[in-house]
């Protein structure tokens, strides 16, 4: 086996490299200088993702790590704590948002938790995620339920991002004003597809600034980026620009959270950690519906980043129907029977 670098040895740096060093961006604006990050394009210029190898790894990882019995139950309960319980529909109203918030606070039937002796762990989902117009409803409902679960809002022209920058920024500010403490923004795919990495960096910096104290989760919409190499580059730019999380997709594209894309993003997160010492979170979203899927995602994180990433601060699963399937599996684990529809409360 031979391993060769993508670039010739250091002694003969290619011209490309020198040019890129000059492109390193600095921001004279005083506000941006307060944020400790910078855009170093040399971190992405060398990258070439080996797609066939990524596909193979993605295939293997799903078949190699299974958990059964008590381990499965424990892992599923843990998965619940990673869920951003989501509703993003045109017909959302305060009543179904309220129901969602209640489910977020009590995700699994109390008697099932007791049977597993984890009823005192304060098990809730990681957050609820809604459209900006529903943030007030969610904040109110959670407050009424006496919960501190954060409310996440999508923003910046979700899901397409094809609105003016000014309105996108305003959207963020309004959602934060309404009480959202996490903002899921979508990036401008046009900038990725045309290779305007500095402009992308610049935009996400402005999102970051608009978020203020709120957490920034950057949605890469990987189904629309064209290649895995672009996924890596966009991930790296999003992290350099100050995202707290990078997220696979909006759930509205035709291709959502897939394992190959996740592997590329996780490797980017690891590279960023090795370069800067900063741990950035990861959020797959869209198409994660079954309990079995969620287990595979947990083991993927465990394999690629390690146990330290398996906390709601660094890992979220964006899902709406996943929770009921998990609850169903827990029910089966505890009772040995499959649950009827009416056995479990709806979300």
């Amino acid at each position: 086996m031979l391993l060769l670098p993508s670039q010739p040895p250091r002694s003969a740096p290619p011209r490309e490299c020198i040019q890129l060093d000059e492109l390193t961006l600095t921001f004279p604006s005083s506000e941006l200088d307060l944020l400790p990050s910078h855009c170093d394009l040399s971190w992405i210029s060398k990258i070439q993702v080996n797609q066939p190898a990524v596909l193979r790894r993605a295939e293997q990882i799903q078949a190699r790590r299974m958990v059964k019995k008590e381990w499965q139950a424990a892992w599923l309960l843990k998965a619940v704590t990673f869920i951003d319980l989501t509703t993003l529909s045109g017909d959302d109203t305060s009543s179904n948002v309220q129901r969602l918030c209640y489910k977020a606070k009590y995700p699994i039937r109390e008697d099932l938790l007791k049977a597993l002796n984890v009823h005192d762990k304060g098990l809730t989902t990681a957050a609820v995620c809604v459209y900006p117009a529903r943030v007030c409803d969610a904040v109110k409902a959670l407050k009424a339920a006496g919960s501190t679960i954060p409310v996440a809002s999508v923003a910046t022209g979700f899901p397409a991002g094809q609105t003016h920058l000014k309105t996108r920024l305003e959207e963020i500010r309004l959602a934060v004003e309404d009480g959202a403490t996490e903002i899921d923004v979508v990036i401008n795919r046009t900038l990725v597809l045309t290779g305007q990495w500095e402009a992308l960096y610049d935009e996400i910096r402005q999102f970051r600034k608009a978020c203020g104290e709120a957490h920034l989760k950057t949605i890469l919409a990987t189904g629309e980026l064209g290649s895995l190499t672009n996924v890596y580059k966009a991930s790296m730019i999003a992290m350099m620009a100050g995202s707290d999380f990078i997220k696979t997709s909006t759930g509205k594209e035709t291709v959502n959270a897939t394992f190959p894309v996740a592997i590329v993003m996780l490797r980017a997160i690891r590279d960023f950690f090795w370069k800067t010492g900063n741990k950035i979170g990861f959020k797959p979203a869209g198409g994660i519906r079954s309990a079995k899927d969620s287990l595979a995602w947990l083991s993927l994180i465990k394999e690629e980043l390690g146990d330290e990433w398996l906390t709601p601060e660094l890992f979220r699963i964006g899902a709406s129907t996943l929770l009921s399937d998990i609850e169903r599996q827990i029910y089966h684990h505890v009772t040995g029977r499959y649950a009827a529809y009416h056995d479990l409360p709806m979300s």
């Binding site: 086996m1 031979l2 066939p52 390690g306």
Partner: protein
């Protein structure tokens, strides 16, 4: 109580989020062993054969040491019974239309599908390999192999016209093999119409199960027979009447050697260690482990190697979640091994990886090619141009670019150098079990009297042999080495008589030193000739053909002096020129076959020169055989050392006159002398990459014996003459197959 314990652990696991055991039930494997009363015999002629009074060897679980079954070892009579069954079955099986064989193979594939759980649990149980490896890779591939070869059998009459099945094939498996390696060999053999006797090391029940599955299809008992026994039965199997070929099947993948360019060394090592730390080892029958174990012997081998490497100054990195008791061994990365230390030269055991740095791609190629092994290699680079150049340059059977370990029935797998020269899968795999129609079967009559130590050792002394009559003959012919005629090292000549017994000429008496010189000259010329495009090779061969035709009368009279009739002599010269032209044209048309397997991206099936090819020409057809063999060898890019006809070397030496002016110096070297002595020198020369021998039965036997020592691909005629004037035998596809070796170059694609 158990329930309470379970609840408590769920709570614990909720915090630690650790992996748990995922035991794969092997109840069905045990149940199958029970059907045999835990006493496995041999599977011969569609029935279990359990002879009395045999030494039994236990079949053990390599991890627990539990005795699973006892396996009686075969004796010579059991081998004979199996071969007899295979021979009887062959008479029917080989005569069937390909479509019927295709149907049978398809049914066997279905049978495997139906019993896959039994197969994978049994294989994992007795070998200790990770069950997911067997379940997710080996079993599907075994089915694919059967299906692909069924298609080949179906189209056999059309695509393999002119070839016939060899007969009974003996297959000897090494103690650590996977049943898949057996499938790679039996599928092509069965597909083309051969029948098989497999000698498995005792304690390997999976081949027996496969034979039983095949036998239970009912229609053709005896096409696949499996006997348990020690490797010492190999010669007995080989000497059974009817056994046409014996192939060996080596071990499963061993350790790896990793070459990393200095500029990415730190980064690569870091990533490698990070990934290794996440590997999980454990009992093979656990569904969530990456690596199983391969028994105590493999553990000790790895441990010895690692300790040795440490004592020689190497850095050792071990990680991974692996039980710390034998036979489990953690994945191990060895680096900083001094280049000259013994461990650098030794074969790396599983699961050890030895990493060493290199500066330039050229250096990496030199290091990689500087080992006696030549199985497979992978090249990882983001620059396709560089990766391809390395891929072409590596002297191995399989190269993966930016991938590793991919296999597909359509893509031939094989090796060169010590990794063997036989092929499995793809068209190359089929030819392993075929011979050109009309070639007589192999007789197992090895001469007991041949003394390998003395064969061709002494050179007969040449003494004056009577008065020189007639016009004074020309100066003695020299040896044609390095593009010119040279005096032989021994400074003596032998006389060549014409058909009437008169002295015709003197030719040089070549010896070991001359062979050495010729091989050196050939090696110097080889790289230049390989880099010539096929078109340039063709035009030189055509030029040589024209030169032959221009001097037709000289060649004709030289042949006539040897008692060849004028008409036949003319035909021989004409045919010789035609052969040179034909191979020239084929070299041009040969190209590289492009195959697209199921992966995304193409696989190139390259035909590469063997290197320096030695050819001992037959006595008959002194010009035609010489030209036919030479043309095929040169067209495929080889450099050649030839020994011409012993009784009539003059035409060949005359051709050298033309080659001296036309061909690059050293490309073709012709050495005359005592044929047995020269054959011995060539067969034992380690740097001759292949040897074709057309001479006596004894010489053939010697050449085959010698090749077992240095694993040189050889082609011998076993003392039988060949119809060189016939198209099939004189210029058939067999020559082309023998004159080059295959390399599979995998190019997965995607961005």
């Amino acid at each position: 109580m158990a329930a309470t314990h379970a609840q408590r652990s769920t709570r614990e696991i909720f915090t630690t989020l650790e992996y748990g055991p995922v035991p794969e039930s092997h109840a069905c494997a045990l149940a199958w062993l029970d059907t045999q009363d835990r006493h496995l015999g041999h599977y011969v002629n569609g029935k279990w054969l359990k002879p009395e009074h045999r030494n039994s060897v236990p079949c053990r679980d390599p991890i627990t040491g539990e005795n699973l079954a006892s396996c009686p070892q075969a004796q010579a009579e059991d081998v004979a019974a199996a071969v007899e069954a295979a021979r009887t079955a062959w008479e029917n099986w080989s005569g069937l239309p390909g479509a019927s064989r295709a149907q049978y193979l398809t049914r066997l594939a279905k049978m495997i599908q139906k019993h896959q759980r039994l197969l994978w649990t049994l294989e994992s149980l007795v070998t200790g390999r990770a069950v997911r490896e067997v379940r997710d890779r080996d079993i599907p591939l075994a089915q694919q192999l059967l299906q692909w070869h069924a298609v080949q059998a179906y189209t056999q009459e059309e695509t393999l016209a002119g070839w016939e099945p060899m007969g009974v094939i003996g297959l000897i498996l090494s103690p650590t093999f996977s049943f898949l390696e057996m499938m790679w060999r039996i599928c092509p053999a069965l597909a083309v119409g051969c029948t098989v006797v497999v000698l498995v090391p005792p304690g390997s029940p999976t081949p027996l199960l496969l034979a039983q599955l095949a036998g239970e299809l009912g229609s053709f008992p005896g096409i696949l027979n499996v006997i348990n026994g020690p490797a010492s039965l190999g010669p007995i199997l080989a000497s059974q009447p009817g056994v046409q070929k014996v192939t060996f099947c080596g071990a499963v993948e061993g350790g790896l050697r990793l070459l990393i360019q200095e500029s990415v060394w730190d980064e690569t090592m870091r990533r490698l260690q990070e990934r290794m730390a996440r590997l999980r080892g454990g009992r093979g029958l656990d569904g969530a482990v990456d690596m199983g174990a391969r028994g105590a012997a493999a553990h000790d081998l790895a441990q010895r190697y690692v300790r040795e490497a440490q004592s020689q100054g190497a850095q050792v990195f071990q990680a991974g979640d692996v039980p710390s008791v034998s036979p489990f061994f953690p994945p191990t990365l060895v680096s900083d091994l001094p280049p000259a230390s013994p461990c650098t030269q030794a074969e790396v055991p599983w699961p050890v990886v030895v990493a060493s740095p290199f500066r330039t791609a050229k250096e990496a190629l030199a290091v990689a090619n500087g080992t006696p092994r030549g199985g497979s290699a992978s090249v990882w680079s983001e620059r396709l141009g560089q990766a391809l150049e390395l891929g072409y340059g590596l002297r191995v059977g399989t190269v993966w670019i930016n991938a590793h370990g991919l296999r597909h029935p359509e893509v031939p797998t094989g090796g060169c150098k010590e990794s063997g020269s036989s092929w499995h899968g793809g068209p190359d795999g089929l030819y392993e079990y075929l011979r050109p129609s009309g070639t007589p079967a192999r007789l197992p009559s090895l001469s007991e009297n041949l003394n390998y130590d003395t064969f061709g050792l002494a050179v007969p002394l040449t003494l004056p042999s009577g008065p020189e009559i007639g016009p004074s003959p020309a100066a003695p012919y020299g040896l044609f080495i390095g593009g010119r005629f040279q005096a032989p090292g021994a400074r003596s000549s032998r006389c060549i008589q014409d058909s009437k017994g008169n002295l015709q000429a003197y030719v040089a008496e070549g010896g070991a030193k001359d062979i050495r010189g010729a091989v050196e000259a050939a090696h110097q010329a080889a790289p230049g000739w390989v880099s010539q495009p096929p078109g340039a090779r063709a035009s030189l061969l055509w030029a040589l053909a024209s030169a032959l035709e221009r001097r037709e009368s000289a060649f004709t009279s030289a042949l006539e002096r040897h008692g060849v009739e004028l008409k036949t002599a003319k035909v021989e010269v004409e045919l010789s020129a035609r052969r040179l032209r034909a191979w020239g044209a084929r070299a041009q048309a040969q190209g590289h076959l492009l195959q697209v397997a199921e992966l995304r991206g193409p696989v190139l099936r390259l035909r590469e020169p063997l290197g320096v090819l030695a050819i001992v020409c037959p006595d008959e057809w002194p010009l035609l055989a010489f030209a036919s063999l030479l043309a095929a060898a040169l067209a495929h890019g080889n450099a050649v050392v030839l020994v011409p006809s012993g009784v009539c070397p003059i035409p060949a030496l005359e051709v050298c006159q033309d080659m001296a002016t036309l061909l690059p110096a050293g490309l073709v070297n012709v050495v005359t002398g005592d044929r047995d002595h020269l054959t011995r020198c060539l067969a034992l020369h380690q740097d001759v990459q292949a040897l074709w021998y057309f001479g006596s039965a004894q010489g053939s036997q010697f050449v085959e014996w010698a090749s077992a020592g240095n694993l040189k691909p050889v082609w011998v005629n076993r003392g039988r003459p060949r119809a060189w004037d016939q198209e099939a035998q004189g210029a058939g596809p067999e020559l082309g197959l023998r004159a080059a070796r295959t390399k599979a170059l995998w190019l997965p694609m995607g961005d």
